[in-house]
């Protein structure tokens, strides 16, 4: 990385990158599905279990206090990482799927009525489509879509007729997992606020790669998945403006989220705790705290630069090899998730053959069937990059593609 530690140094922090697949070194190009974890994160989880494990917010004893402190410490780190005004605006969830369901249920079911409109985009991951369809079924609200251009950007030419005073919420991805496209959040948020709609952002792909300042963006709700940003699975969260979170209903009733329980009603804790029913993934959120420490030490600007460089290199090499690449080619408006077809080799055959060379890519619809349908393909191959990937690994990918081409020639 130009303004950070070099990639070879970073790679030493990731134990899994030392392993082989068969007799080949692992070339992990599926970070958009889940990132690998640095030793610092693995150690934080392990240290929590080895030395501080207890349930958070319950035990009136030393361990309980330590566990609570570690858990709340992680919340404070996430608040800092996303520029949130206060840790109470950070709700812990198991990831973006849960975050978007919480928005669609806790906010959507409470405030949406027949005649109201929800605006999403054809670029969304299923986790920002299906929760809204479920909310529509209950509320009678209408779900509308921002379409896509042929190069995989949001087609905003007709935004004025899609985003109206009937629109109550715009729920949009920050970066497409299937196309890599980065959406113009600032513009979308301003336009939505101008008609009185609130904005929820699925930052599953954006958060690992770009600095996000929720206050500067003036975004109302924003969810992330910890496991895509070097953290453990089942870590993640939802930022919300305090007044919006206050107004929302909890999704999960149960232990820890209540103040008092009576026979026929209960009172809820203040935010964020009213959304955190049941025992949370405590060690995992602590691990995510260590992950954002790690990312901050690298510097999110350096993370972004590295991604732009390797994505540029990969796009050039893939196009030169004759691959069909979906989504924008301009790295200033796209991230490092690169969907492609290599000649006529079906993505599943490609993934199997690449695996023989140690190369791990994703093949399928990427939980984005609307995108696949828009571009008339049932599936694509997808290579995605993160802080530990090198140009050499892109070369290994391209050489492996040639082998697949030979088999199917």
């Amino acid at each position: 990385m130009r303004n950070g530690p070099d990639v070879e140094t970073i790679r030493k922090d990731f134990p899994i990158l030392e392993r082989a697949v068969g007799d080949r070194p692992l070339v992990y190009l599926d970070s958009a599905a889940t990132s690998q974890k640095p030793r610092q994160v693995i150690d934080a989880v392990s240290d929590f279990y080895a030395h501080h494990n207890a349930n958070a917010h319950r035990g009136i004893y030393q361990l309980g206090e330590e566990a609570t402190e570690a858990f709340e410490g992680a919340r404070a780190k996430l608040a800092r990482f996303f520029g949130a005004p206060d840790p109470t605006t950070i709700v812990f969830t198991r990831g973006v799927t849960e975050s978007m369901n919480l928005v669609a249920q806790g906010w959507g079911r409470k405030f949406l009525r027949e005649g109201d409109e929800i605006l999403i985009t054809e670029m969304e991951h299923h986790s920002n489509i299906v929760p809204w369809q479920m909310t529509v079924a209950v509320t009678g609200a209408t779900l509308r879509y921002i379409p896509l251009t042929d190069d995989g950007q949001l087609d905003l030419s007709d935004l004025g007729s899609l985003l109206t005073e009937r629109t109550k919420i715009l729920s949009v991805t920050g970066m497409s997992n299937a196309l890599g496209t980065i959406t113009p959040l600032r513009q979308l948020i301003e336009s939505a606020h101008a008609v009185g709609a609130i904005v929820a952002v699925d930052a599953a792909q954006l958060a690992p790669h770009r600095a996000i300042d929720v206050q500067a963006l003036d975004v109302d709700l924003l969810g992330w998945s910890g496991h895509k940003m070097l953290g453990p699975t089942a870590s993640g969260g939802l930022y919300g403006k305090a007044e919006i979170l206050d107004a929302m209903d909890p999704m999960l009733g149960g232990g820890e989220m209540i103040e008092e329980v009576f026979h026929h009603r209960s009172t809820f804790k203040p935010i964020p705790y009213k959304f955190e029913g049941g025992t949370m993934p405590i060690a995992q959120q602590v691990g995510l705290g260590a992950a954002v420490d790690y990312l901050e030490a690298l510097g999110m600007d350096a993370v972004r630069e590295h991604e732009e460089e390797i994505t540029r290199y990969a796009l050039d090499r893939l196009l030169e090899a004759g691959a069909t690449v979906y989504g924008p080619k301009d790295t200033s408006i796209r991230g490092g998730a690169v969907s492609f077809w290599y000649h006529d080799v079906h993505p599943h055959d490609l993934a199997t053959i690449l695996n023989e060379e140690g190369v791990a890519i994703r093949a399928g619809h990427h939980c984005a069937q609307l995108v696949m349908r828009r571009f008339g393909t049932p599936a694509t191959a997808r290579a995605s990059f993160y802080v530990y990937n090198t140009n050499h690994e892109v070369d290994v990918l391209v050489e492996a593609l040639a082998k697949a081409g030979d088999i199917f020639a």
Binding site: G22, D349, G364, I407
Partner: protein, 148 residues
Amino acid sequence: MAVDELYKEIILDHYKSPRNKRELPGAALTGSGNNPLCGDEITVFANVEDGKVTELTYRGAGCSISQSSASMMTEAVQGQTVDEARELAGQFRSMMAGELDPDEATFGDLVALKGVVKYPIRIKCAVLAWDTLQEAFEGAPSGAASPA
């Protein structure tokens, strides 16, 4: 290289030059299935007379494993009785489960798909055509004439 055991010549041949890949207008039996994870799709068309599969064709799109399996299936099943075809489908599933190790004499080209067993995630691709055939047969009780 292990991958050569998967992508045998015969599989690639069926993939590139599929047999009986066409619609059968007015077919007595049809069945369709897909594998949403991969986007593999297969529709089979069959005519059955006196309990015997007289014609079997398919249409579809997907990976080489799913499509070659369908192509081989149409060749293997043509001329069999519905009961025999059902039994073959069962044997094919057993082969995919690693419980049966048939030889080429009894299994023909289908034996080439044995290599898929080592790629558990691809087994669904290989079995899709056979599931689809099963669905088509659901309208055809064994030994019965083709239903209306």
